[in-house]
Every structure is written in C-alpha cells, then in structure tokens.
C-alpha cells in the first residue's frame, strides 16, 4: 500500500502556512493591533555578521520545501538567498564559488524543542533554570530570562547538527510553563544578541504525567489528569475576562495569555497520549485559542486524521519509547503514519545530544516508514527538520527553506545528510560562515570552555 505523500504533505503545508499567516507581524512579533499590547521590553539586538557573496555549486540540494536539485546551485549575498537552481543558474560576478561536488546542501536545521541555555551544560543545580516548578501555571515567566548564552551546547548543535535556529522552551513541570524564546544559533554575549528578529513568541503547555506528578506530590492541585484540565480551563476563563476588558492593568501572566487568545503567541503543547491531545483540541476550541504543535506526541500516529483536520503539527522523536507510562506506545512509524494522513511532522530533540543528530533521527523515522510501504522522498524528510519546524515556529517567511529573499541559513554537508556517515562541513547563518570543519579557528568556543581541557577541540 502506498500513498501519494507529496500531494498530502503539500495540502497540509498550505493549510499550515495560512494558519501561520494569522500570527502577529510586529517588530518582535508581539504587537497586536487590537489593543495596546506592551512592546517587547527585551528586543533582539542580533545583526547578521559579514559574509562573502557565495555560490555553492555542484552539490545535491534539498531546498527544505520538498524539492531536490541534482548538481544544484545555491547563491547568497548580503545575508539573503539570491538564487536556487540547477547547474545552468548564472553566477553573478563577485561570488565566491564553493565546490559542492559529491556533497549536499540543505537549509539550516531548526530545532523546535530545545532547552539549551535554560538547562545548559554543565548540568549542575545552579544551572537548572528551565522549570519554575512552584505553581502549576506560570504564564508570567519567559524562557529568555533563563537562557545562558555561554551554554557550550549551542556550539555542538551548530557544528555537528547544522542547527541555525531553535526554540528554547520552558520545561514541562507546569501546565503552563511560560513563553519560549526563538533564537538564531549565533554565539553572543547576551540572549538579546541571539533572539530571532521578528519571531513570534511561543507558549509552553504540558499535559499528562508531569504536572500532576509535580503538584500532586506537593499535595496541590492538579494531582490528576482531570485536575490538569480544570486548572487549565479556569485559567483560560480568567484570561478571557482580562482579554475582553480594557487590559489597562499590567499583568505578566494575563498579557501572555491574552497574546495566545489573540493568536499572536503560538501554543507548543507537550503531550504524549492521543486521547489527551484530542481533549486539548476541544479545550482550545472552547477557550478560543489554537494549538500550533503537540510536542513529543508519541501517540500522534493514532490520531493523524484529527491532527490534520486541526492543522496541528506533531514535533516528535524518531524512536524514544517506554521511559515513562505515557510513552509506552511509542513506535518508530509515528512520523510516517502522520505523513500518510497528511498531518504535519516535525522532528525535534528536547536533548542537548539529540539536537546534534536531528538529520539522523529524521532518517530513522523515514526508514521505519519505508519498511511498512510508506516511501517518503528524502527532500520531504529534510522538511521535517527545516521548513515544517519554521512554520510551526512562525518564522517560515524568513527561514526554513532555500528560496530567494529568505535568510541565507545554509548547511553544506560532506555527504547525504540522511546517512549516518555525513556531517556538516560548513554552516552559514544569514550568509556568515559560522562553522567550517576544514578550519579549526572557525569553530565557536564558549567562555566556559576557555582554559579548560578540550578548549577548541573537535567535539
């Protein structure tokens, strides 16, 4: 049994784009038009670094949007992609040619679920800044206030994973964990220097075992799944009251929740079980918000039809299973079964090691599909770790695929990125060369690692 996955995915993608198009487009994504929403007090200061106009020639190109070009040409200059085509694409004067013969080019990899910076390494207690586990709902906290830009994990994600953008989420102890931060994976002295310009905020929510365990264990509500829903619904009702009022009184929590209800802040909901995801979708309808993506979603394959109908992405691992009760039904075919239904697939890491191998996770999930007769082209699989992630993060108009006018976030792989034997050779962010495996000095080293064993080593 085979499916026309290309068509199904294209339809799902179109639906998602339209959903994303309703998100706010303010200077930093949080300026709603309908009310006097406060300007982002922690604006991005990121500016692209210099880069030479570059022509990647002769490589196999996966554009992230489902297209494969053999012997392709990718042009970029002044931080933007300026052309993508075949060997016949003219290379303007002044472009530095990089020979990609035998190599592959993809958009920069994007991780939609990371805790780099808020659970950095070294993973000592003093660095545990990802869960404000003192209240089951903490919509008032912002992940960016926990991000330590010197986390060495950012550099590994760049060099080994080709990651150029990522969403840092609060943890999942709380039903409502707070705002996420979307970052460019550029070394910076400040988190503002990493913030992705114009990216909408995300809002972390969590279903299931974690909130009820954390708060039930403290003798507080919620201690059950029904308690989870009750606390969530009451919180949304109170938020709706605020949102429908004049919003004059400042409230960090209510402003974020109102931003979600306005559609300016995208909900990223940690949720494992299919039945619970279905309940969340109804709760979202009841309360008037949209779930952009379910994260982890190990049982998403059981409700691929429902997820497609609701235009919700599933941000998943390839093969994690069985480590907790709600992960018991994890199967390797999760991504392929979602793709079969035309639902949106994103491969995520949630892990400082896994973020270095998102391409490999995608390849494993693809192979599991192939074994059950679901053939998903390589070029679409690359979309699971690039354009689909960008769509669900609300940044697909800027990055996630190789298209003229988009940010020149580009990876040159030394082989097929869906092979275990390949690694990034060069990584550009906004057209600036940020990693070059052939040049030991073009490898970022965090402050933490200076003067320590292994400083500047291959990692």
């Amino acid at each position: 049994m085979k499916f026309d996955l290309r068509t199904a995915a294209a339809l799902a993608g179109a639906a998602l784009l339209s959903a994303c198009a309703t998100t706010g487009e303010g200077s930093d994504g949080t300026n709603g038009a309908a009310y006097d929403y406060p300007d982002n007090p922690f604006p991005s200061t990121y500016q692209r670094y210099p880069g030479a106009p570059t022509a990647l020639v002769g490589a196999t190109v996966y554009d992230g949007a489902g297209r494969r070009i053999d012997n392709g040409t990718v042009l970029f200059a002044d931080g933007k992609v300026t052309g993508v085509g075949g060997a016949d694409l003219a290379i303007p004067a002044g472009y530095t040619r990089v020979d990609g013969t035998g190599k592959f080019v993809t958009p920069g990899v994007i991780d939609i679920h990371s805790h780099l910076g808020d659970y950095p390494t070294p993973a000592v207690d003093a660095h545990e800044d990802g869960n404000e586990a003192t209240n089951p709902t903490t919509p008032e906290v912002w992940a960016e206030h926990s991000v330590w830009p010197q986390d060495p994990g950012f550099t590994r994600a760049l060099a080994n994973g080709g990651v150029t953008a990522l969403q840092i989420l609060p943890g999942s102890a709380n039903l409502m964990g707070g705002r996420s931060a979307t970052l460019k994976n550029v070394p910076s002295r400040t988190v503002q220097g990493m913030k992705f310009p114009g990216a909408p905020y995300g809002f972390k929510m969590a279903c299931g075992e974690n909130p009820k365990r954390v708060y039930g264990g403290k003798g507080r509500m919620p201690s059950t799944r029904m308690g989870n829903f009750a606390v969530n619904r009451q919180t949304w009702m109170d938020a709706r009251k605020y949102a429908d009022g004049d919003r004059k009184e400042r409230s960090l929590a209510k402003e974020t929740l109102a931003g979600v209800l306005d559609g300016d802040i995208l909900v990223h909901n940690h949720c494992y079980r299919a039945d619970e995801m279905a309940l969340v979708l109804d709760m979202a309808k009841e309360m008037g918000y949209k779930v952009t993506a379910f994260h982890h979603a190990v049982e998403a394959y059981k409700i691929g039809d429902l997820l497609r109908a609701n235009n919700v992405c599933s941000a998943i691992w390839a093969d994690w299973y069985g480590f907790k009760m709600e992960a018991y039904d994890g199967i390797q075919e999760n991504a392929a079964y979602l793709q079969r239904e035309g639902a949106c697939v994103v491969i995520h890491s949630d892990d400082a090691n896994g973020i270095q191998r998102l391409n490999q996770e995608a390849a494993k999930a693809q192979a599991a599909g192939r074994r059950v007769g679901i053939d998903i082209p390589d070029a679409e699989v690359i979309g699971w770790i690039t354009l689909n992630a960008a769509k669900a993060m609300g940044i697909a108009d800027q990055t996630g695929s190789l298209e003229s006018g988009k940010m020149a976030d580009v990876v040159l792989w030394n082989g097929d990125p869906l092979s275990v034997y390949s690694r990034p050779e060069k990584v550009w962010i906004d057209g600036a060369l940020m990693f070059d495996a052939t040049n030991p000095k073009l490898r970022p080293v965090s402050d933490f690692e200076l003067g320590q064993p292994g400083e500047g080593d291959v990692k």
Partner: protein, 457 residues
C-alpha cells in the same frame, strides 16, 4: 480427535516445546564477521548444531543443508550490548516496574541481577528485534557506591536469559560515587578500600574457595561462579565492620580478581586513580565504564591493559568530570591501543548502538577528528564488548565455534534505519514481534468504519 482439534493440539505442542537449533547456511550476503575486518560481499555462513561452522568467502554449503539466499542482505554476528539494564524494568519511570536500583536496600554489592531478569520484558523483545543478541545487564549504584553483581544474558525467546550469573561487580567512583559515599570522592575511595579489605579478611577467615588465577572467559555451562555470599557463615568478623556479611562475601571474588570490577569514572584524574588501585589490590580485574576523558590518559589505560566501555558520542561538559569530552574519544583511545566497546547505557536505548558506531565511522571523514574504520566500529558493538564481558570467540564474531548468533539485515547495519529481517540466537530463529510491532500493524490505517481499533489484532 477431530482434524481441527488435532491441528490445534499439534500447534500448542509446537509452542510449548523449546525451539530447536536449525542447521542452515546463508549464501550470497555481505558478511561482517565482527572481528574488526571490513565487510565482504557474496559470502557464506554455515551454522550447525547451534554453532557457527564456517563464515567467509568460498565456503561450501554442506550437502543437504538448507541454504537461504542472502542476496541484497547483510549478515553479521548478533550485537553485544554492554552495559545495560535490559530485563530489569518495564517502564523506568514507573517505580513499581523498575528493579534497576535500590537506594533503600540494606544491601549493595550483594545485589544479584540474575534472579530478577525478565526475559519477557518488552525491552528485551524490542532489542532482540533490533539485532542485539547478548548483553551485560546490571543493577546500578544508588544507596552505595557498589551497584551489585551483573549478569550476562542472551535475548532469546526462551525462559532462560541468564548465561552467567554474578559475572561482574559494579562500582562508581567519580562525582556520583562521591555523593553516594557521603559527599566526596575521598569518602568514596575510603569506602572502596575499606570494603575490599573487609572482603579480603572475610574471604580468608571463612575460607571462601576461589580459583588460583583469573578466569575471565566464560566456559558456558560448566564454570558457574561460586556464589561467595552463601559461604563462610561461621567466620568471625571484627566489631567495626561497615559492610554486611552478605556484601563483604560478594566482594571476595572481586578482590581476588575472579570477578571483573566495572568502575564508572569519567574524569582523567579519576581514571588515573582507578588504574592506581591495582597497586594496592593487584588482582583486581578492572573495566572502565564511561571514561569521557579517557583520551587524555589513553596511554596509561593501554599500558594497564584495562578495557573500556566508553560513552560513544558524549561531547558536552555535562559535568565537571567531563569537561574534555569529545566524540573523538573512542577513536583516540583505540589509536593508542586501548580495547574499547561502545557503552550501550550512554544512549537513549541500547538499540542505538549501531547508529553510534556509524557516527564513529563518520568522524573518520571529519578533518582533525578521530574515528574508526567500519570494521573497527562494528567490532566496538560486537566482538569487543563480547571479549570484555567474557564471551571471547563465543559471541560478537562469526567464526568457527562461535554461538550461532546471526542477524540478517536489510542493509548496512551501521546505516540509519537498517533493521534485522532475521535474528538467530544459538542457531534458533527468533520471533521479532513485540508491543511496538503490534501497534505498528494495528495503526497501518485509521479505518474504524466497521469496528473500533480494539478488534484489530
């Protein structure tokens, strides 16, 4: 008896009877023998009486033997996973189902994994289907620096998973060991030395028997280790002992070098301190586990002849004892002459062993990095862990005399997504079904137009 009843009875009998080893040959497959050599195409493997008879090019299939066409397939020995907790938990976060550690137990070194390993555990079924046929499985340190006595198991679909009980002892001496020991590495080292001295004394006064020399390699079935815990009941012990008698007795074979001691350490200085233990306890049979900074002391490790079960891809300063971790760690240690297996416990699941090995091959193409050749990388998940856990020549290799553990793969076993199509253990073809494969089959579609999914099985 009706024909139907007869058929049913016959099939039930077949289910109840132990599966017999098959005599068979696989021809025309790409063969990796696990010994460190590169794979060879169009090779033949012959298995008879549960053992490998021949493997390689130009091997003739004995007359009358069933031959399976392996064209387009790869054949390898079963993968060997060290160290694991396979069979000791159903769901690690469900404490009722989790026998991996026992922080509140009055015992530590005396804990014995063998009687509690569940061969029907889904993790064993899932990992069998992923091509792992043998494993070292152990309880982990929690209430004490000693984790207890691990077992060597096979992952066969039969009621007898344990090949060798009490095969090794585990101890942790780094950051974790220091915290367990009361707050510092110094305390961990004092506890360790005291424990070994108490064991030495108990072994002598109780006349606990032992072998006169090391015997690392397992001789299946005829060298079951003495359970030292059950001996020496009437010996006198001084009043200031810290260990229970049971724990002290369990450490007697360790201090005598009759039972390998797996030491979890990461930092270069902790590795040196561990190697130095041999000066005080010369007969210790050490194995390092973790060793993220092993490359910094690789020559010392090689000179000591101590094998390493190393974390394969750790490259973050996860803690202050892993500041120098790099994915090139294993490649550098191997280049220095250290015997290194990839640690199955340093990944999400042991079934990622082949992915990790493939990554070490990838490093050989990265400028400045140290990786492994394909043959070396495959050996690091087959013959090398087999040697370390005492199965030299018996597992992890396809060579005459080895157990008939074979995996037939649908592609290069180190490549992403390659999976076994057949798994043999001791020459017996294994079922590959499990909870995950059943869910996979049920959800091939979402059609419930006739009945709910619950009837689809």
């Amino acid at each position: 008896m009706s024909r139907l009843a007869y058929t049913l009875a016959a099939s039930l009998l077949a289910l109840a009877a132990p599966a017999a080893a098959q005599d068979f040959a696989i021809t025309g497959a790409t063969l990796a023998t696990g010994d460190g050599s590169d794979p060879v195409p169009n090779a033949t493997v012959v298995v008879r009486g549960g053992r490998v008879v021949a493997a390689g090019l130009g091997v003739a299939v004995p007359a009358g033997m069933q031959a399976v066409d392996g064209a387009g397939r790869w054949v390898t020995p079963g993968l060997v996973a060290a160290v694991t907790t396979l069979g000791l938990a159903d769901v690690s976060a469900v404490s009722e189902s989790n026998d991996i550690s026992a922080g509140s137990s009055p015992f530590s070194a005396a804990l014995d994994a063998a009687p509690v390993i569940n061969p029907a555990s889904q993790h064993i079924l899932v990992h069998r289907a992923a091509g792992i046929t043998r494993a070292a499985t152990r309880t982990t340190p929690s209430g004490s620096i000693f984790g207890g006595q691990g077992a060597i198991i096979d992952l066969g679909a039969d009621p007898n998973p344990v090949m060798r009980a009490r095969a090794f002892q585990t101890v942790t001496l780094g950051e974790a060991g220091g915290r367990i020991a009361g707050g510092s590495r110094a305390s961990a080292h004092a506890l360790f030395r005291n424990a070994l001295r108490e064991a030495t004394r108990l072994g002598e006064s109780a006349r606990i028997p032992g072998r006169s020399s090391q015997s690392r390699d397992v001789d299946l079935g005829d060298d079951v280790p003495v359970d030292s815990r059950l001996l020496g009941e009437d010996s006198e012990r001084p009043g200031d002992v810290l260990l229970t008698r049971f724990d002290a007795a369990a450490l007697v074979p360790v201090v005598r070098g009759e039972q390998p001691l797996y030491v979890t350490v990461e930092r270069a200085s902790d590795i040196r301190s561990t190697l130095a233990l041999k000066r005080e306890f010369p007969r210790l049979d050490l194995v390092l586990v973790g060793a993220s900074e092993g490359w910094m002391v690789a020559r010392d490790i090689a000179a000591a002849g101590v094998p390493v079960i190393a974390d394969g891809l750790d490259d973050l300063p996860q803690s202050f004892e892993e500041l120098a971790s790099t994915q090139s760690n294993i490649g550098r240690m191997v280049a220095a002459g250290v015997k290194v297996a990839i640690n199955a416990s340093a990944m999400e699941n042991p079934r990622n062993l082949n992915q990790y090995a493939g990554n070490l091959v990838a490093l050989s193409r990265v400028p400045g990095a140290s990786g492994l050749s394909w043959g070396q990388a495959f050996a690091a998940i087959s013959s090398v862990p087999a040697e370390i856990i005492g199965l030299r020549g018996r597992a992890g290799v396809l060579a005459p005399g080895a157990q008939g553990d074979l995996v037939v793969w649908d592609g290069d076993p180190l490549e992403l997504g390659s999976m076994p199509v057949q798994v043999f253990i001791d020459g017996v073809e294994q079922p590959l079904d499990n909870h995950q494969s059943r869910l996979r089959d049920r959800y091939r579609d979402l059609d419930e137009s006739d009945r709910p999914k619950a009837f689809d099985w």
